[in-house]
């Protein structure tokens, strides 16, 4: 590893560590938030217990698959919000002209922005995801896959938020649209893919990347398929690359831009 990369990682790690320290400053608030987030997620188990009492198979899923889906969704979402919560406030940073401090540092602007904050409840999501995975469908192989898919899922969520946030470089009201898209993605996360068909399914795989973030991983964990696994990894890498390119394209526009309203 080159020293440049090593130094960059050191800064990111410190940044994340300091963010988390800030959230843990008030121990009571931190613990209540974490616990409530776990309870919040657990409450939805009731919904699924009732649904599966009515029908044993919903969109090709049984209780086990739904719980795996929740596990992957919570862990990916939690990891993304623990490390890279800054990406979700990118629109405000762009519109408020607050990218400047990141531009005068001799480090990656993108990583600086991404690691600039954390979400307090992210720990609860992460813990709940791991717990659900271990309780409902533990096997060593599945657990390793679970870790991998948590990382790809977090990458997809982060990259999608980055791509949507970068719209603000071009469109003044891009933040509203971007927020809709990111919220829509999260809403679809915890429902079986089998209930959607036709155009909706197509959109949820390609436009709003729910499919590659959570559905495909669940299928691979239930029935191993190397091709599907590689396509998930490839999709995560591809989307990240596209989002990064869009961000830096936009950043050039930000620096050479001549629209005043955003900058004063």
């Amino acid at each position: 590893m080159s020293t440049g990369v090593k130094n960059q990682l050191r800064v990111c790690a410190l940044s994340v560590k300091y963010n988390i320290m800030r959230e843990m400053l008030n121990k009571v608030t931190f613990l209540t938030n974490t616990c409530f987030m776990m309870l919040n997620n657990a409450a939805f188990i009731i919904q699924w217990l009732i649904l599966f009492r009515l029908k044993g198979d919903i969109g090709g899923y049984t209780m086990r698959e739904v719980m795996l889906l929740w596990g992957i969704a919570c862990c990916s979402f939690g990891l993304s919000h623990l490390l890279f919560a800054g990406v979700f406030s990118l629109p405000e940073l762009i519109i408020g002209g607050r990218l400047d401090p990141f531009l005068v540092q001799p480090k990656s602007v993108l990583l600086g922005v991404m690691t600039s904050s954390t979400r307090i409840s992210a720990m609860g999501d992460l813990a709940y995801g791991v717990l659900v995975m271990c309780v409902f469908c533990f096997s060593v192989k599945r657990f390793l896959l679970f870790l991998l898919f948590t990382v790809t899922g977090a990458a997809i969520i982060t990259a999608f938020a980055l791509l949507m946030g970068s719209l603000c470089f071009w469109f003044v009201r891009g933040d509203v649209f971007g927020n809709y898209m990111v919220n829509a993605m999260v809403s679809f996360f915890t429902y079986p893919d089998g209930i959607f068909n036709g155009t909706a399914r197509f959109l949820l795989y390609l436009v709003i990347p729910v499919g590659m973030a959570v559905w495909m991983p669940v299928h691979v964990m239930m029935e191993f398929d190397a091709g599907a696994l590689f396509s998930v990894v490839g999709f995560a890498a591809g989307l990240s690359a596209v989002a990064t390119a869009a961000f830096y394209r936009g950043l050039r526009r930000y620096a050479s831009g001549n629209l005043m309203e955003a900058r004063v």
Partner: protein, 272 residues
């Protein structure tokens, strides 16, 4: 040695304009009218190593835009600029290792951490090793008298102590040029004085070049030997403080002189 050199530096902003009334609102939707404003208009100047320069002008004169172009945040759309022999537009990161920036109201410190932890972070940002950072913190804390509060979380510090730390944090990597954008804004006179002495000391100890913008005449008078005044994007005056005062002999204060220059149109002619 020349550390900053700007030649015909220009930046134009496009501002949306709306005619008054309902008709204007509709027009703004279908045929948005924009107006070009030359925020910085063919500005040329150079700064020598170790200089303390005041870059002043009324609000909207183009001070911040100029600083942003010198530090690589904004790309100029005309002219040429070099800082420490580097083009900020193309070598932004390389340049960042050698310059420091303090933007008045914008805080860059983590307030829940101590100044010490903050300095450690900036050490990492500028690729210093742990032992280098330690050594540098020791040195800075001694010179600038931080020992009393270096281990107190920033949120518990007084405003003055906080600003001191903000400035010292930007010195961790021994920058050769320091850009200060309104460093004393909103501070009481005592704190202002202590920040000024810090800046003076820094210039003396490390021969750091200081590029300062301020609305505070005291800052300018007590710190800078040279003054550049900009108005409507153009340089109207670039001279030594001494010469300026001699030329405007009879005016009570520097503030009066500056007011007079702001109000006069175009370039100020001064015989040398």
């Amino acid at each position: 040695m020349e550390v900053i050199n700007a030649q015909d530096l220009s930046k134009t902003f496009r501002v949306k304009r709306k005619e008054k009334g309902m008709r204007g609102s509709f027009q703004a939707i279908f045929h948005p009218q924009t107006q070009m404003i030359r925020a910085v208009d063919q500005v040329s100047f150079s700064v020598e190593e170790g200089e303390m320069l005041a870059f002043i002008g009324p609000n909207g004169a183009g001070k911040s835009t100029t600083i942003k172009m010198l530090t690589g945040i904004l790309y100029p759309d005309g002219g040429k600029v070099e800082v420490l022999g580097l083009d900020p537009t193309r070598k932004r990161k390389q340049l960042a290792y050698q310059i420091g920036t303090v933007f008045g109201q914008k805080e860059q410190l983590w307030v829940h951490l101590t100044p010490y932890d903050n300095f450690r972070f900036f050490g990492a940002v500028y690729d210093l090793t742990d032992s280098e950072t330690e050594r540098r913190i020791g040195e800075l804390s001694e010179i600038f008298d931080l020992a009393d509060f270096i281990n107190t979380p920033v949120r518990n510090l007084s405003l003055g102590q906080r600003i001191r730390c903000e400035i010292v944090a930007s010195l961790i990597h021994r920058p050769r040029v320091l850009f200060l954008d309104e460093p004393t804004i909103g501070l009481d006179p005592v704190v202002k004085e202590s920040i000024r002495s810090l800046i003076r000391q820094m210039n003396r100890e490390f021969n750091t070049t200081i590029f300062l913008t301020s609305h505070d005449v005291g800052d300018i008078e007590k710190l800078c030997r040279r003054i550049i005044i900009v108005n409507s994007g153009q340089i109207v005056l670039d001279d030594s403080m001494e010469h300026l005062k001699k030329h405007y002999m009879g005016r009570e204060t520097l503030e009066d002189i500056i007011m007079e220059i702001y109000q006069s149109e175009g370039k100020v002619a001064m015989d040398s």
